[in-house]
Structure formats: structure tokens, C-alpha cells
């Protein structure tokens, strides 16, 4: 499923990196520990986190992730937003918490 479709179906805001909305999502990975994501996320995963700094995009890019979802209304730091645009990896926003968005995403991706 494409990032665009997931954003529409789950009512996520596209904060940045709109050029990457056609990226294909394989599965998801939720963690706020960067080395955990580095070690265990798979390419194509959509990453659910509350970390809002630039290193999130460095990892998303190195791991070929499809997009990042920021939970609970968190917004990216300006340099994170900038790198998201440069790398074409969308940052999506939701006011929901990690548990809720994970559940919805899990059901949607496993349909």
C-alpha cells in the first residue's frame, strides 16, 4: 500500500516530504529508541515514533523506510522537515497515541 493511501485512510496530516507519497509501505515499526530501529526495522517499513529531530530522517534514509508517523501531535524540528523534503521520505502527523495508530495501521496493512 502506498503512503498516500495510508495517510488518507487514517486521516494523517502530510507535514513534509510530499514527493514521497507514492512510496510503497511493506510493514511498520514502532520505537523511540534509535538503535532499536537501526537494528530491527526493515526497508519499506513505516516508522511510528515521537522523536522529532533530524537523526530520525538520517535513519529513515539509511534504512530505506517509506515514511515516518509522528504521534500525539508532535511536529518535526525544522531541520528534520527539511531533510524529509530532500530525501522524499514523508513525515506524517496524527493526534492519536502510538497504541491507537499502531492498531489501525496493523489492521489496514494486513487487510
Amino acid at each position: 500500500m502506498k503512503v498516500k493511501e495510508v495517510a488518507e485512510k487514517l486521516g494523517l496530516t502530510v507535514i513534509s516530504g510530499a514527493n514521497g507519497l507514492e512510496n510503497e509501505i511493506s510493514m511498520g515499526y514502532s520505537s523511540d529508541l534509535l538503535s532499536d530501529v537501526m537494528g530491527s526495522a526493515q526497508s519499506g517499513d513505516i516508522w511510528i515514533t515521537l522523536q522529532t529531530h533530524k537523526n530520525v530522517m538520517a535513519i529513515a534514509s539509511l534504512k530505506d523506510l517509506s515514511a515516518v508517523i509522528l504521534v500525539k501531535g508532535f511536529t518535526p524540528d525544522p531541520d528534520m522537515e527539511e531533510q524529509s523534503n530532500e530525501e522524499n521520505i514523508p513525515v506524517l502527523g496524527t493526534t492519536e497515541d502510538t497504541f491507537t495508530i499502531n492498531g489501525k495501521l496493523y489492521n489496514l496493512l494486513n487487510q
Binding site: 529508541l33 537494528g39 533530524k54 538520517a58 535513519i59 539509511l62
Partner: protein, 138 residues
């Protein structure tokens, strides 16, 4: 082929620059994507360790037809007990660094899992050297 990169301790906004450059280089060389993924994880973790724990460092990368050899030499506090540092969950990261989501104590285990050969040497009060080798075909 030989490449060198400088790493500044404490500068998180530049963390990952060398890893991102190496990824581009390896892609251009048509290296197996699986190998690229492993090397990139290992280098990123070692690079961030210099940023998070040391003062400054240099990364030396040598690529030939058989393998990718990476050596990171830093000036910093060094590691007193390397065996302990290698254990998952062990971290001396500062509260500020932890707040960013670093400091899970998973970096060195990630390096171990993603290299074919790894050697960490260190002198307390001077610095740390991390040497890793990844073979291009398994």
C-alpha cells in the same frame, strides 16, 4: 578505493554523514544490497558512538574487490571494560543524549551483528579504535 571522513563529537546534526556517503558509493559500485544494508548499520552506529561519547574522530574506509574495511579512530574517554560495553543494554549516555532516543546500549551489538569481523581497542583517557570488515560475498 580509499575514503576518509572527520567526525565531530557532540555534533548530532551531522551524525550519519559518512554512512550516507558510503551507502551512495556502494550503490554506485553495484554492491549486493544486503551487504550495503549491513555495512550501513554498522558504520552508522560506530559513527554515532563518536558523536555521543568521544571528542572527535576519523573514519578510514578501504574498499577492494573482496571486502570493505572500516577503521574509526577517536580521541575521547575510551572504554574501560569493552566486554561490558558490548553487552546489550549497557550505556553511559548522558540524559540529553537519551532524550533524543540514543543510549539504548544497542549500538555495539548492532555493529557485532552486522559485520564479519570486529575489533574494538581502547585506552582510557585517550580514545577508542573500532575496526570492522565486511566481505562482499558471503
Amino acid at each position: 578505493m580509499h575514503f576518509e571522513f572527520n567526525v565531530e563529537g557532540g555534533n548530532f546534526s551531522k551524525a550519519g554523514t559518512a554512512s550516507s556517503q558510503l551507502k551512495k558509493i556502494l550503490k554506485q559500485l553495484n554492491v549486493d544490497p544486503k551487504v550495503i544494508k549491513r555495512v550501513v548499520v554498522a558504520l552508522y552506529e560506530a559513527e554515532v558512538n563518536i558523536v555521543a561519547h568521544a571528542f572527535n574522530g576519523i573514519i578510514y574506509i578501504d574498499i577492494d574487490t573482496e571486502k570493505i574495511e572500516i577503521k574509526l579512530i577517536d580521541e575521547g574517554p575510551g572504554i574501560a571494560d569493552i566486554e561490558l560495553a558490548m553487552q546489550q543494554g549497557y550505556s553511559t549516555a548522558s540524559p540529553e543524549v537519551r532524550e533524543m532516543g540514543f543510549g539504548a546500549g544497542m549500538g555495539l551489538p548492532n555493529i557485532k551483528n552486522n559485520t564479519d569481523e570486529l575489533k574494538v581497542t581502547s585506552e582510557v583517557g585517550k580514545g577508542t579504535t573500532v575496526e570492522m570488515i565486511t566481505y562482499l560475498s558471503s
